[in-house]
C-alpha cells in the first residue's frame, strides 16, 4: 500500500464530505495493531447523495478512471452491498460496503476520529472492529479479533 496514495484517497474523502467508517486492517493500523494489508475497507452511509460523494472523491484521487462510474447506486443500495474497486495504480484496492452481514452499517458501527497529516479519518473503534472480526468465518479475522481483545482488554460481551 502506497503511503501517498492512501493519504490522497483519505484527503479526497474528507474534501467531499463522504460519510464513511474505516474498518479492516487499515483501521487496526490506526489503533496501533500492525499487520500488512493491500486494501482499504470502508462502510459508507447508504444514500444516493453519499454514493455520489464516493464517486466524486474517487474521481479526485484517480482522475480520468472511467471505471469509477461502474460504482452504481442500484448495486450498493440493492442486492450488491459490497463493491471492490481496483484503481489504475495497482498498489491497493478498496472494498466499499453499504452493509456487512445482517446488522453492520454506517449507522451501527461505532467510530472515532483519528488524524493523519491534518486529514480527519473516521475509524471504527477497537470494540467495533472486535465485534466485526469475531463474527466472520475467516481465520485471519479471528486472529485480528484475538489481537484486539488482548490489546484493548476486550471480552466476548463487548
Amino acid at each position: 500500500m502506497d503511503r501517498d496514495e492512501l493519504l490522497r484517497v483519505l484527503r479526497a474523502f474528507e474534501a467531499e464530505g463522504l460519510e464513511y467508517v474505516l474498518i479492516g486492517a487499515t483501521a487496526m493500523g490506526f489503533h496501533g495493531l500492525v499487520r500488512a494489508t493491500e486494501d482499504i475497507d470502508l462502510i459508507v452511509r447508504a444514500t444516493p447523495e453519499n454514493l455520489t460523494r464516493l464517486r466524486r472523491s474517487l474521481q479526485t484521487a484517480y482522475p480520468d478512471d472511467p471505471h469509477i462510474e461502474q460504482i452504481r447506486d442500484a448495486d450498493l443500495l440493492g442486492e450488491y452491498p459490497s463493491v471492490r474497486y481496483y484503481p489504475p495504480t495497482g498498489d491497493l484496492f478498496l472494498d466499499v460496503m453499504t452493509r456487512l452481514g445482517d446488522s453492520a452499517s454506517y449507522d451501527t458501527v461505532e467510530a472515532e476520529i483519528k488524524e493523519i497529516e491534518g486529514i480527519r479519518v473516521r475509524v471504527a473503534t477497537p470494540a467495533a472492529l472486535f465485534r466485526l472480526k469475531r463474527d466472520t468465518i475467516r481465520p485471519l479475522d479471528h486472529q485480528d479479533a484475538a489481537a484486539l481483545a488482548r490489546r484493548f482488554h476486550l471480552k466476548e460481551g463487548d
Binding site: 500500500m1 502506497d2 503511503r3 492512501l6 487499515t26 487496526m28 493500523g29 490506526f30 489503533h31 496501533g32 495493531l33 500492525v34 499487520r35 500488512a36 494489508t37 493491500e38 486494501d39 471505471h67 469509477i68 461502474q70 460504482i71 448495486d75 442486492e79 450488491y80 452491498p81 459490497s82 463493491v83 471492490r84 474497486y85 481496483y86 489504475p88 495497482g90 498498489d91 484496492f93 472494498d95 460496503m97 456487512l100 452481514g101 483519528k114 493523519i116 466472520t136 468465518i137 475467516r138 489481537a147 488482548r150 490489546r151
Partner: protein, 73 residues
C-alpha cells in the same frame, strides 16, 4: 523497552504489540510496503460487485492465488 523477555512462545504470542503512540500508523504503512516488496501482486482493473462478504472474500483469494483478478461482471 528495547528487549522483552518471555518464559514461553505462548507467553510471547499473547503479549500486546507495543507500538509507540503517534507512530503506529506510519509503522503500519512501512510494514505494508515491505509486504508488497516481498509479495507483489498483479491486480485486475475496475469495479467488481458482490452479494455477500463471502463472495468478496472468494474473489480476493482467487486474485491472491493466480495474481490476476476474476473476469469483470
Amino acid at each position: 523497552m528495547a528487549v522483552e523477555k518471555y518464559r514461553s512462545a505462548h507467553e510471547m504470542n499473547s503479549a500486546p504489540i507495543r507500538v509507540p503512540l503517534g507512530d503506529s500508523f506510519e509503522r503500519f504503512l512501512r510494514h505494508c510496503a515491505r509486504y508488497w516488496r516481498l509479495s507483489p501482486r498483479r491486480y485486475p482493473r475496475g469495479v467488481f460487485k458482490f452479494r455477500t462478504v463471502e463472495e468478496a472474500q472468494a474473489a480476493r483469494d482467487q486474485v491472491a492465488k493466480v495474481g490476476m483478478g476474476p473476469s469483470q461482471p
